[in-house]
Amino acid sequence: MTITNTHSTTQAVSARGLTKVYGAGPTAVHALAGVDVSFETGRFTAIMGPSGSGKSTLMHCLAGLDSATSGSITIAGQDITQLNDNELTRLRRDAIGFVFQSFNLVPTLTAEQNILLPLQLAGKKHDAGWLAQVVSTLGLGDRLAHKPHELSGGQQQRVAVARALLTRPAVVFGDEPTGNLDTRTGAEVLSLLRSSVREMGQTIIMVTHDPVAASYADEVLLMRDGELVGNLSDPTPEAVTAALASLGA
């Protein structure tokens, strides 16, 4: 089934006929069984579904971290399934931001160095004003010189968010970005993500299994057995929980 958002016409990310098969023969797992989806610029989308439904696989394929078995993916107007590894790497560096569940930061680098890492890898100068704005928005001003192990889990995730936002990417992907945080810290991080969408026009796609986290998004996509099976606009935790229950999760 195809789910298209109707609020805007520019698409940050879209996929057509996306499949991903692990293994071959009788033991093959169809982690993605033909997904058509598009994400519009400046929207915050959450992907939900039972464990093993293919959420992470979808995100990895969309972000160019993993190759799809078939289908096409377009990011910022570019078909990424045709790119080689170096081109994909460059795309990730320039057009995509990441916030992972854990182990987001390079332990040998300070918070600031971590934030600047993608830009430095690209050999680009950073916009000092923008850095200051992102850092102050995320409340990291006094933590920039710290190494990751000197930061709390929430601070580490905020550094990861700052890094993801600094390149002004076409899209930020989050894989359970608050999965390792307590409720309050998690809420902080989610608010930051949402305000970046509201105030900076950032596009964010987030995988989560937490209905509360999903309620921060503009829209929730529901997955089951490698397929998109429904969506909820302006979700509330209760609506999400109900929708998940109806999926049999």
């Binding site: 990895h60 972000a63 971290l65 993993d66 590894d85 170096n86 790497t89 460059r90 990730r92 560096r93 320039d94 990441f98 992972f100 182990f103 987001n104 930061l105 390079v106 332990p107 040998t108 680098l109 890492l117 993608p118 430095q120 890898l121 690209a122 050999g123 190494k147 990751p148 192990h149 890094r163």
Partner: protein
């Protein structure tokens, strides 16, 4: 815990490949060294055994017993033994030397009598007939083939009898014999002559090495042994030794193997160095394995494992690895030695070589390999024991591993480094090699103990130089010192090898230079060629007519024995010769020493230092000449003249003047000769003949100089030994040093190789540890190439810094060591082999690059998704 240990080995088997390889090579080195010793002994035993193999008993003199008179085993004794009842035959074990001239060459030969008794022959006929009469010989088959000799050929035989009379005759080859491996016959052409002819070689009173006895069938060996000993005693041998061939072989073997044991000890030192380096690699591997397993160990502790159990589990793992790797090492040693012995036995002079795997070489290999692995794993095992159960619950924090250097180690390290350094300096100043050696050893141990103080810091500092060139370089330099302890151990392993190799290189170079300068001081010219007459010969090697030794008194040697202008001209046409001077005797001083003269312009060309050319009225004398003026008389004149003395630095060069000066001498006439005389004041003077001084073209290496010496000898038709001089000595010396350096570097290369395995090992273990981090970096935009480059730079940083520090350290040791070793007899000139040192650095860096290939490829192959999934 055995189960856990085995499970760990199975699970982490890939991580153990490198450590297994390292232990294997280290152990193989040790085992092979011991096998060299046992094989050499076995080969020698076989060779000696061949001399006596057909004898039932061997009679001789027990040389361990003191005697008052010189006792000789001669014909009388032989006959006495032959007369003993039960003795069927007696043959002497005896050899003499000779030169054999074939149509194409002149060869050294060992001559022995062709035994009458068929059983007791050392060499037996392969074809032809036995030598009889005075002019028949047989030659051994291997050399016959090598020199192209056949039955029916005639050869010139020259030698000398003990009474001094010369032997020189022509003989016909009547047969070809087997080639004996007996050490008495050596590796030269083996010539058998008839017993009658042999008597000419040994004279009327031969001195046999031993008597080989064949017994009558059914004779009582014990009775004959006693009777033969008694017979010898009765004929002036106070301590006869009569024993079986087997016993004799064992006895002689003991007297042969002394030098070989020394050689083994030297090899063992190198094996030890390789094992120390191996130990560092093992220690590092286990430290990393334990660190990576902290959580697992903590979990086990939480589940109730005792501290001691965890330590035991690590040690059992080390034990298993130690036993397996050292067993493989011993097998490797056997394989390598079998190949080596197999090759050596194809050489004509060593066909008796056999491989002997002594029990000690197997046991020592297994034991030392295993124990070394256990010792190296001890500290990491203790660390495993100290893992707190809580560590299982804490998130892994690998960014900050602080290595505190133990106070005790610090104190000892500083003491050893400073004390040893002082001793080394003292050894260098006082030219005492032993003191210098121990000082160097102690200070090096001290420096290695302190390595964790300066190695990571240096790596960090050097890394900073690269940090500017992009994120991968910056990450590489951070990663290189992420775990200072690991970096220290990895770099130390390489540091040891590189320090020793560069020490040898610098020491060799400095010694060569110092000796070169010393030789340059002593030898005024490159080559000196004496007239054949000085050796009682003519050109081409024939003896001077009418003389048996030195040229006869009062006679002037004919032109066929003296160097002259035509030889000077010949010499100047030889390739590689730049100038030739003919020096002729012109005068004698009051001591009877002969003074020579040549034209000033020619002297200026041949002298290494043209400033030494004596001025008019001057004589150039050696540095031992104390007088300011020398009173001389021209040859064949009694008028004396006085010359001013100019001294060279040479200790033994003859005194020379220019032809112009010679012409001004009172009573001088060209062509004067010096006969062997005793002057009025009792001093003796030898006959003197012209000499050629030759300068070689600049830039010839030692091999070319040696070739030049040989071609001069053959062009001038004089024996090789008449061509001498600084260039030859320097060439020979350089060759010896270079060969030694090559051998030592080859032996040390094993240690360097193991250390480089260590670099690869550390890197691949670190890469495994950083899988998630690599995946994260890849996700954030680090390309595969950048990732590979990052790891390569990390390896290069560690290896490069270790090599650099090793070179600096080795250079210091090399210079001070050379000062201690040769300072007492040569002025040490500092000279660094920049090319070789750069080569060491280059090889280390390239090898580190190579070592990073496999781990880097593995890291780069991993997709970001897989990496992120790893827990």
């Amino acid at each position: 815990m055995l189960k856990l240990a085995l499970a760990n080995i199975r699970t982490y088997s890939r991580r153990l490949i490198a450590v297994t390889l390292a232990v294997m090579i280290g152990t193989a080195f040790l085992s092979a060294t011991l096998m060299v010793n046992s094989s050499a002994t076995a080969s020698l035993e076989r060779s000696i055994g061949e001399a006596y193999q057909h004898a039932d008993l061997v009679a001789g003199i027990d040389t361990d017993q003191p005697t008052t008179d010189v006792e000789v085993l001669g014909v009388k004794q032989l006959e006495a033994v032959a007369a003993v009842p039960g003795v069927a035959a007696v043959e002497p074990q005896t050899t003499s030397g000779a030169r054999i001239a074939t149509g194409t060459g002149d060869y050294n030969a060992v001559v022995h009598p062709y035994a009458a008794d068929a059983q007791l022959r050392t060499t037996t006929l392969v074809s032809g007939t036995a030598p009889t009469g005075g002019s028949q010989v047989t030659v051994d088959e291997k050399h016959a083939e090598q020199y192209g000799l056949n039955t029916g050929d005639t050869v010139g035989v020259t030698g000398s009898a003990p009474d001094g009379s010369a032997l020189d005759y022509t003989a016909t080859i009547t047969g070809i014999t087997t080639s004996s491996n007996s050490p008495f016959l050596g590796s030269n052409l083996q010539v058998a002559v008839s017993g009658d002819r042999y008597a000419f070689f040994v004279g009327s009173a031969p001195d046999y090495q031993s008597l080989m006895i064949r017994l009558d069938d059914g004779a009582d060996a014990a009775a004959v042994t006693t009777a033969a000993a008694d017979a010898l005693k009765a004929h002036g041998i106070s301590h006869p030794s009569v024993m079986t061939a087997q016993e004799r072989t064992v006895t002689e073997l003991a007297s042969f193997t002394g030098g070989q044991d020394q050689f083994t000890v030297i090899l063992l030192v190198f094996a030890l160095i390789a094992l120390v380096v191996t130990g560092l690699v093992v220690m590092n591997t286990f430290a990393v394995l334990v660190a990576q397993r902290t959580r697992e160990l903590a979990l086990l502790r939480t589940l109730g494992a005792m501290r001691a159990q965890l330590r035991r589990s690590v040690l059992v793992e080390a034990l298993v690895i130690g036993v397996v790797s050292s067993a493989l090492g011993v097998l490797l040693a056997i394989g390598v030695m079998a190949g080596l012995v197999g090759y050596v036995s194809t050489l004509p002079e060593a066909s008796f070589a056999v491989l002997a795997v002594s029990p000690i070489s197997v046991i020592a290999g297994l034991a030392v390999g295993t124990i070394m692995t256990l010792i190296a794993a001890w500290a990491p095992a203790r660390r495993a024991m100290s893992v707190a159960p809580l560590a299982a619950l804490r998130p892994a924090d690998d960014a900050s591993v602080h290595n505190r250097i133990g106070k005790l180690r610090l104190v000892f390290g500083v003491l050893l480094a400073l004390g040893g350094g002082a001793l080394l300096a003292f050894g260098a100043v006082s030219h005492n090699l032993l003191v210098g050696f121990f000082g160097g050893l102690l200070s090096f141990i001290g420096i290695l103990m302190l390595a964790s103080l300066f190695l990571p810091g240096t790596v960090r500092a050097v890394g900073r130089l690269f940090s500017g060139s992009g994120v991968p370089a910056k990450l590489a330099s951070l990663n290189a010192v992420r775990n200072p302890g690991r970096t220290t151990a990895t770099a130390t392993a390489l540091l040891i090898g590189v320090t020793l190799v560069s020490m040898m290189m610098v020491g060799a170079q400095t010694t060569k230079q110092s000796f070169g300068a010393e030789l340059g001081r002593n030898y005024l010219v490159d080559f000196t060629v004496d007239s054949p007459a000085a050796f009682g010969e003519t050109f081409g090697g024939a003896p001077l007519p009418g003389s048996s030794g030195e040229a006869g008194s009062g006679t002037t040697a004919p032109d066929s024995a003296q160097l002259g202008d035509s030889q000077a001209k010949t010499a100047s046409t030889v390739d590689g010769v730049s100038a030739v001077a003919l020096l002729t005797p012109v005068a004698q001083d009051q001591k009877g020493d002969v003074l020579y003269a040549a034209d000033a312009d020619v002297l200026a060309k041949v002298l290494n230092d043209p400033a030494l050319v004596p001025a008019d009225g001057e004589v150039l004398a050696g540095q031992s000449e104390e007088a300011k003026q020398l009173k001389v008389h021209a040859l064949e004149s009694t008028d004396s003249s006085t010359l001013k003395v100019k001294r060279s630095q040479s200790d033994f060069s003859m005194a020379i003047m220019t032809t112009a000066t010679a012409k001004q001498l009172a009573g001088y006439a060209p062509g004067g000769s010096v006969a062997e005389t005793t002057t009025e004041d009792g001093s003796y003077s030898m006959a003197a003949y012209p000499v050629l001084w030759i300068k070689a073209a600049p830039g010839l290496d030692s091999g070319q100089l040696q070739d030049l010496g040989r071609s001069l000898a053959s062009e001038l038709r004089v024996p090789d030994y008449q061509v001498t001089g600084g260039a030859m000595e320097k060439a020979l010396f350089t060759q010896v040093i270079d060969t030694l350096l090559l051998v030592v570097s080859g032996l040390l290369a094993v240690a360097v190789f193991i250390a480089l395995i260590g670099v690869a090992n550390t890197l691949s273990l670190s890469v495994l540890e950083r899988t998630r981090e690599s995946a994260l970096l890849r996700a954030l935009g680090l390309t595969r190439g950048q990732l590979r480059g990052m790891l390569a730079l990390e390896a290069v940083l560690i290896a490069g810094v270790a090599a650099l520090l090793g070179i600096v350290l080795g250079t210091t040791y090399g210079v001070l060591g050379a000062q201690s070793a040769v300072g007492s007899f040569a002025t040490v000139t500092l000279s660094l082999p920049w090319g070789q040192l750069l080569l060491v650095l280059g090889v280390s860096v390239l090898a580190a690059l190579a070592a990073s290939i496999v781990p880097a490829r593995r890291a780069a192959r991993l997709s970001p998704v897989e990496g992120l999934a790893t827990e």
